[in-house]
Symmetry: C2
Subunit: 95 residues, 2 copies
């Protein structure tokens, strides 16, 4: 099975970015024991004050999809939009 | 010092994507012993046949900048464009 990667861009409602980032960091902590989740890094940018990017790497696309079931939805009200970029990771350092 | 992350999107000349990806995978292998480089994952996408994305995580922005000095330029002729997205990683799994 091929690994699955994603750059999950989320756009927070104005003023809600940091709160959203905190929720996503909590989500990352919850994934600590999920062996299918290899990376779940939360990022922000100086150039876009409303965006949060999550760098994701999973053992498979199915594993990623499964993780969304029952996922905590407490952040949903903070999110104005989402622009996920799904990728096929080939290899490299940290792969 | 804050860590530094980047989604390095490179657009290859038509038909050159796979060759560019191979060169970047070699670059990743060369970074194996660089302790400042935490991630250097090479990705492609089904939706964009010319693009390669490199998921990068460095101990600092300076460390990333230093790595570019003396970097192998053999891939440059394959690259039609670059759209780097520089990020501030906050934390998470794999951070």
């Amino acid at each position: 099975m091929e690994k699955f990667a994603m750059y999950g861009k989320l756009i927070a409602h104005p003023g809600k970015r940091d709160e959203l980032a905190e929720i996503l960091l909590e989500a990352a902590a919850m994934l600590r024991d999920n062996e299918d989740c290899e990376l779940y890094i939360v990022n922000v940018s100086d150039s876009d004050p409303n965006a949060v990017w999550v760098t994701e790497l999973w053992s498979s696309q199915d594993a990623h999809a499964s993780s969304l079931q029952g996922a905590d939805t407490s952040g949903r009200a903070l999110i104005a939009g989402a622009e996920p970029l799904r990728l096929k990771p080939l290899g490299g350092k940290g792969f």
